[in-house]
Amino acid sequence: MQDHVTITIDGAKIQAVKGSSVLDTAMEYGVCIPHLCHYPGLSEIGACRLCIVENVVVGKSKVTTSCTLNVAEGMVIRTDTEKIRRLRRNIAELLVAQAPNSRAIQDIAVRCGVTKVRYPFHNDNCVLCGRCVRVCAEMWQAKALGFIGRGKHRHVDFPFGKKPDYCKTCNTCIDICPMTTIPCIGPMKKGEERLCGSCEGQLMMTTNITDQCVWCELGKGFQCTRHVQAAGAM
């Protein structure tokens, strides 16, 4: 018998498994909080900051990432306030400006309501979500990948830049990478980057509805409830 605690997410009182994170609990109940660096089974590093929520403690709300926050009795969480939507949109905007050639990132941008990018595009291939590093270390115990450098020089690489013999060439790092699928509009060269907006049609219709689900491709990888249910129905 699992221990449960009662928490409130967006006004709904729900039973959460003790020791689970707020993000996992919310996803289980169909509250789809956008996220990128979180991956089931891997440790949480709270790097992408997309899964931010408001944690209300005695009337004072504090913005924190839901993946690193564990449920506790009586906790009050707000996932979809005006403030959270704005902050999340700004973070998604930073991400899509950095790596427009990723379908996952473009999807997240649409889902978070980014309609305009205020910064010049950079055409980077990595947003340092660290999924590859963690899957290699935690799932395969190989530690063939790691973060190198600090600040803007931070990047993912093999130890000393050389593929070590303990790399199991399992390719999980590639499978799990959110950057490997290009947007539907095809690869964008330097200078041609833009907000993909392929899902804009759906977004337009739902723009006034707080649940802006566009059935993003990414949702599959994230065990989005809708995708899981759809797969079950089929």
Binding site: I45, L50, V63, T65, L87, I91, L95, A97, R150, R154
Partner: protein, 617 residues
């Protein structure tokens, strides 16, 4: 080798013995902090010792090499007691004269005295100097009285008496209550109530607990912690000993950055001596309390001043912050309850125990008690360390103690709290300096750095400098900090290079607010402060850069132009020779001209011109 002190009585006897060694007729105190050492105070001290031996005065004069006195502007500094004569800018060549006159006859050497720039008068006594007079040097003042490499000095001035008091008859709860009543708040920047932290750590579940002293001070223009670590390491050890007893910890760490070699070696020496004397180790002074301290050296990362990154670094991992949804007092070093305090916080603890909580609480203003050390740097006359009660106004610090602007140009702003702090304009100089007021004004006390800026400082450029510093020092883990800083810097570079657009100011504000709320650690959350505070108080400067494409302070190279006033130029040719790019032309004795295309705006010509014929516009 000394015998270990086993009881409180042993410590008392050692104190009497140490005091007896200090009663020579005269004491010459030589500041050997890093600042004075850079101006060769060590050489002066050596010369003094050998001359003294040659003169046969060793038995009557005590030479004490101490840590930083704080008056770094005038270094190397020598104080001769009991007459309390202060000599500044002392060189090894002055030593024979000092011994022959001041030491032997008590005569004062006029040319070595401090000249008060306000009145132009020479001041003989240290205590009369305005810089010192306006301060309340309860902690920093100890630096002058002890040789940091000698534990006996610290014991002689009453050191470790607070430890005796605590171990000899106070319960841990009583100690925590004292600290709580004193109102002491963390001196590292956060301003969290120390007593509450101790209480939470004591209450946290777990047998094994740790205390850590955070000496990873990395703010540009701040060096308070360095001077306390260098000059008075035993005060920190005593504070940690008291803290460990209150919390129930048996192991402590002092985390010092490797860029402070003198602080590292002095702290090491202090720990070794304390172990030899039995003040660290098992069954301290027969009380049954066990505690030991190790020195952990930082490897040069600014972010390691953040508590979780520091702990990761001590553990031997990459110094990166981790989410603090569970506080470090419950889940800290090696996932054990850990109490981390700043150098200055620990050093204040023995004084609170000795003098009582009420004594400490009486100083300072509402909500911020006690004294705080600030590092005054930048365009100010008296650069150095100042210790003042909390709640004093910025104006008092800058003008009464700091002596005002360095070169006659009006002070425009002061940047408090290092890169995470903000810039406060001159109209805010009457604000009391305490934790809550400065935070409300958009800046913060931070660790206590104060960088003074005058009319020749461009505030956009300052914000850009701090952002560039933070971008280098950010760990790069979380998105808003890594990418947000990059974008902010991009925008500021645009503005300073004449490509700024009006809507970018709004973007800066929106992005700054996002970073402040969503970043993983305090570095990221406070990183936009330099931009947000300059935008708040110096928005005009941003707008001038954007709309008029000009830099009022004449700093941003892309927006300024050097020109020679033909009416003033004598055609001496000094600038022509000095210009490294050959941008200046003209015949001898006739006014010269600057070619705008070849000029790189380095400003060398302005510095060389004796007639002030070259101006920036």
């Amino acid at each position: 080798m000394v015998a270990k002190l086993k009881t409180f009585a042993d410590l008392g006897a050692a104190r009497t013995c140490a005091q007896a060694k200090r009663n020579k007729a005269q004491t010459v105190t030589m500041c050997c902090g890093t600042g004075c050492q850079a101006s060769s105070s060590q050489k002066v001290a050596e010369a003094f010792k050998s001359e003294l031996a040659a003169a046969g005065l060793v038995d009557s004069v005590d030479v004490r090499l101490t840590g930083c006195h704080g008056f770094c502007e005038q270094g190397p500094i020598m104080v001769i007691d009991p007459a309390n004569i202060l000599y500044c800018h002392v060189t090894p060549e002055d030593v024979p004269e000092i011994i022959a006159t001041t030491v032997r006859t008590g005569e004062v050497i006029d040319r070595l005295l401090y000249v008060d720039p306000a009145s132009g008068e020479k001041i003989t006594r240290e205590a009369d100097i305005p810089f010192y007079r306006a301060q309340d040097r309860t902690l920093l003042g100890q630096n002058r009285r002890v040789d940091p490499s000698n534990i006996e000095d610290y014991i002689a001035i009453g050191g470790y008496s607070a430890l005796t008091k605590v171990l000899g008859g106070m319960s841990p709860e009583a100690v925590i209550k004292q600290i709580q009543e004193s109102g002491l708040r963390g001196r590292g920047g956060g301003g969290f109530p120390t007593g509450r932290k101790w209480e939470q750590c004591r209450a946290a579940a777990g047998e094994e607990k740790y205390v850590i002293c955070n000496g990873d001070e990395g703010d540009p223009g701040a060096y308070m912690d360095r001077s306390v670590l260098e000059g008075n390491p035993h005060a920190i050890l005593e504070g940690m000993l008291i803290g460990s007893y209150a919390i129930g910890a048996n192991q402590g760490y002092i985390y010092v950055r490797k860029e402070y070699p003198l602080a590292v070696s002095n702290a090491r020496k202090a720990v070794e001596q304390a172990r030899q004397w039995g003040l660290l180790g098992e069954n301290i002074l027969g009380s049954g309390h066990n505690f030991d301290v190790e020195i952990a050296r930082g490897a040069g990362a600014f972010v390691c001043g953040e508590s979780t990154a520091l702990m990761a670094s001590v553990e031997g991992k990459v110094g990166e912050p981790r989410p603090k949804d569970v506080h470090t007092v419950k889940d800290g070093l090696w996932h054990k309850p850990t109490c981390l305090n700043n150098v200055e916080t620990w050093a204040n603890v023995p004084m609170i125990i000795n003098n009582g909580a009420a004594w400490f609480a009486a100083k300072g203003s509402n909500g911020s008690t006690g004294t705080k050390i600030f590092a005054l740097t930048g365009r100010i006359k008296n650069t150095g360390l100042v210790e003042v009660p909390m709640g004093i106004s910025l104006r008092k610090i800058l003008y009464d103690i700091g002596g005002g602007a360095a070169n006659g140009v009006a002070i425009k702003a002061v940047q408090t709290g290092g890169p995470s702090g903000g810039c406060l304009p001159a109209e805010k100089f009457d604000l009391p300096v305490d934790f809550d007021t400065l935070t409300a004004a958009g800046s913060m006390i931070g660790s206590g750095g104060m960088v003074v800026m005058d009319e020749h400082t461009c505030m956009v450029d300052v914000a850009k400098y701090f952002l560039a510093f933070l971008q280098d020092e950010s760990c790069g883990k979380c998105v808003p900090c890594r990418l947000g800083l990059e974008r902010m810097l991009e925008i500021l570079t645009d503005i300073t290079e004449g490509r700024g657009r009006p809507e970018q100011i709004e973007v800066l504000e929106d992005l700054g607010d996002t970073m402040a709320q969503t970043c993983l650690c305090a570095l990221g959350r406070t990183a936009p402060n330099p931009v947000l505070s300059t935008l708040r108080y110096f928005r005009k400067e941003y707008e001038t850069h954007i709309h008029d494409k000009s830099c009022p302070a004449g700093v941003c190279r892309s927006l300024i132009r050097y020109s020679i006033d033909p009416g003033v130029c004598t055609g001496c040719g000094a600038c022509l020779k000095a210009c490294p790019h050959g941008a200046i032309s003209g015949e001898s004795k006739k006014p010269h001209a600057i070619s705008e295309t070849m000029c790189t705006r380095c400003g060398i010509c302005t510095d060389t011109c004796k007639f002030e014929a070259i101006s920036v516009c």
